[in-house]
């Protein structure tokens, strides 16, 4: 494998890791606050559809992005009401949200655009275009570092950079601010937060809200950055893979980045079967390649996670002790 191929693959890894990373960080906020969220998938899907639909109607991708975030936030609100206000089962609520998004997106897309449940192709201002960083052109001649800068680091859409910058931002927010302290506390022992005079409900809704925004970004990136339209079930399990990455990362921001890059890379492999054939000398058939990211997700969950201890109050609604 030469440098160019490697850079191409890493470049694709970055692109495919971006929605995972945004979703994974979304899950991180929610789960750190003690709210499990199986519904990342559905929120991404809803955001993808609404973002693509609005972008195609208005021709403005940023309007699409905002609308996508709004759709995702709406689902977050449902999850919040179900699991925080009414202390419902968080897993079930998440599953319901996934189906809701899967069903509604197609129903609305079909009645709106009549293209078999997809949105029209986006072009021009309707989609996120890649940004060329300063000096990318002029430096591309420099050996090794030049192509890395020009191809790998430069030339992504703005949301990719947003996703990667969210990692240090999240770390800072969690570990250096009052909000972060309280957020972590509410996921570990909500009673401690409550008796300290801080609203458990408020904190948890804030976390779920942030989760909604990040899922919105992830979904919008899928439909208006990575692809050029919304298609039925286009998230294809990314929400769940992001959760697997979150567990693998043990709910830590920097580790989430590494885990998502790994899972992103797993998704790149099926796109380049020729490379597997060349490097490993075996020919994998198409279906196996297709299933590979899912299989490896299971393998990683089963084999390499070790003992992942989730936030202690995770998944259980807070009820004042009697």
């Amino acid at each position: 494998m030469d440098l160019n191929t490697l850079i191409q693959m890493l470049d694709a890894t970055v692109r495919l890791a971006t929605p995972l990373l945004l979703a994974c960080l979304a899950g991180l906020y929610s789960e750190r606050a003690g709210i499990f969220d199986i519904g990342l998938e559905g929120k991404m899907l809803a955001a993808a559809f609404v973002a693509a639909a609005i972008a195609s109607v208005t021709g403005q991708v940023y309007l699409g992005l905002l609308a996508g975030i709004g759709a995702s936030l709406l689902l977050s609100a449902i999850h919040g009401v179900a699991s925080i206000t009414f202390r419902g089962n968080q897993l079930i609520s998440g599953v319901a949200i996934n189906f809701l998004a899967a069903g509604l997106s197609v129903v609305i897309a079909q009645s709106w655009f009549r293209q078999g449940g997809r949105t029209p192709q986006l072009s021009g201002e309707g989609r996120f275009r890649s940004i060329t960083l300063p000096f990318a052109e002029s430096l591309s001649g420099v050996p090794v570092l030049g192509p890395i800068y020009a191809e790998l680091i430069s030339g992504h859409s703005i949301l990719v950079y947003v996703a990667f910058l969210t990692v240090p931002l999240t770390w800072w927010l969690l570990f250096r601010t009052r909000f972060g302290l309280r957020l972590r506390a509410v996921g570990e022992n909500p009673a401690a937060v409550d008796t300290a005079g801080v609203s458990v409900i408020g904190l948890r809704f804030a976390a779920v809200g942030i989760c909604g925004i990040l899922c919105g970004l992830a979904g919008a990136y899928l439909a208006t950055g990575l692809q050029t339209s919304f298609t039925k079930d286009m998230t294809s399990g990314r929400g769940y893979i992001a959760l697997a990455a979150l567990i693998f990362a043990k709910w830590r921001p920097w580790h989430a980045l590494y885990a998502c890059l790994l899972f992103g890379f797993l998704q790149v492999i099926p796109l380049r079967p020729d490379l597997i054939t060349n490097t490993l000398g075996l020919r994998l058939n198409g279906q196996l390649l297709e299933a590979l990211p899912y299989i490896l997700t299971v393998v990683i969950l089963a084999g390499f996670v070790g003992k992942a201890i989730p936030p202690r109050a995770g998944g259980t609604p807070y009820v004042k002790e009697r």
Binding site: I78, A82, I92, F99, L100, Y240, A244, I247, L301, A302
Partner: protein
């Protein structure tokens, strides 16, 4: 004390949830420019207005009985098996292999063998997530979802490769005629009147009813069911009593996967009479809504499955005659899951208040209850 009488718990709560889901679905129909009332009428006439419609409704209901029971038995042990879809797909593979490669003189023997094959394959597909959960603590919701994707790829591979019939379609060849299950049309038509003409409902419906009864017996009358429910209520107590968590997790998931797999005798052997791509059509997921609505009880599952059979067939009619797409059923299913599963308390709390205020005279303040709740 329980705030609500049991009858209200098992009837009112699901019914109100269903009503809420129906209202929201009607709003969706309105929003896409169709008439909800006309839609309901179309659904009722399409699904229940003829023996043909009933034949489809009961056919779909049969699918949902199996997947609903599958989710229920796992729920009893507090396992969330969201992989019914994949298990049913692989169960179909089991049915196909049995029927294609073994000779059968009569459909009854074929049914027994294919049911075994379906259950075995479905259970095997659930086994890996189960053992990973029990031994490695791998989140079973994520692993079973992953196994749905993997199952789809596996079926894809099998149907374009090893077991593909000659021709364009990714499907197996038709199963031998001797393995054909009697349809309702065969069973109930008389010389003068043909009932259920062309509808896919078949003898598997009765297998489904038998499965409901068997599962009821298992959960409520056997030691395994007792242990399974105990584990579902309290893992720590189960350990104290000498109930092995590994055993319960694996066994409940095997039964669950087996039941999901057995759906295939209905859709693969009974209806298509060959294995095609995406034969399950979301029935595995609908099982979640059915189990929640049926409160994980076989009787409830049976009723909820009939309801979803109606919705599914009615939805198909809608897609045929109006511009409402089939995915509307997914929306309804989501809403039912949301209201019966996650927003249960939203429905329950006001109801409990009503019942509490109706309770008169107030219960004598028994010492036993005071003592427990006061601190």
């Amino acid at each position: 004390m329980d705030a609500m009488p049991k009858w209200a718990e098992v009837t009112l709560v699901p019914l109100i949830s269903l009503l809420l889901a129906a209202i929201l679905s009607a709003l969706v129909i309105l929003a896409i420019g169709e008439n909800p009332w006309a839609a309901v009428k179309l659904m009722v006439s399409g699904a229940l207005g003829s023996t043909y419609g009933w034949g489809y409704t009961l056919y779909y209901a049969t699918n949902f009985i199996f997947t609903g029971l599958a989710v229920s038995i796992a729920f009893q042990a507090r396992m969330f098996n969201i992989g019914g879809e994949g298990q049913a797909l692989v169960g179909g593979l089991g049915v196909a292999l049995v029927l294609l490669y073994l000779p059968f003189p009569h459909w009854t023997i074929a049914l027994i063998a294919s049911a075994a094959g379906a259950a075995l394959f479905g259970a095997a597909w659930a086994f890996i997530p189960a053992i990973l959960q029990a031994k490695r603590g791998s989140h079973i919701v994520i692993t079973t979802i992953m196994f749905n994707f993997i199952a789809a790829s596996l079926l894809n591979y099998m149907l374009v490769g090893p077991i593909k019939a000659p021709g364009q379609e990714p499907a197996t060849s038709k199963f031998p005629a001797t393995t054909q299950l009697p349809s309702f049309q065969d069973m109930f038509s008389t010389a003068d009147t043909v009932l259920f003409r062309g509808a896919p409902a078949n003898v598997t419906f009765f297998v489904g009813i038998a499965a409901c009864f068997a599962l009821w017996l298992l959960i409520w009358r056997t030691r395994l069911g007792y242990e399974l429910r105990a584990f579902g209520h309290s893992e720590s107590a189960a350990k104290y009593a000498g109930i092995s968590p590994t055993k319960i997790i694996v066994v409940s998931m095997l039964i669950s996967g087996g039941l999901a797999g057995m759906m295939a005798i209905n859709n693969v052997q009974g209806e298509a009479e060959r294995l095609v791509l995406n034969a399950v059509e979301g029935a595995g997921f609908i099982g979640i809504a059915v189990a929640l609505m049926g409160r994980s009880h076989p009787v409830g599952v049976f009723i909820a499955a009939l309801l979803f059979g109606f919705l599914y067939q009615g939805g198909a009619e809608l897609a045929l005659w109006t511009s409402i797409p089939r995915e509307l059923i997914v929306v309804i299913q989501a809403l039912v899951i949301l209201f019966t599963g996650a927003l249960d308390n939203m429905v329950r709390m006001p109801l409990e208040k009503v019942f509490l205020s109706m309770r008169r005279p107030p219960k004598p303040d028994r010492k036993s209850t005071t003592a427990r709740a006061a601190e």
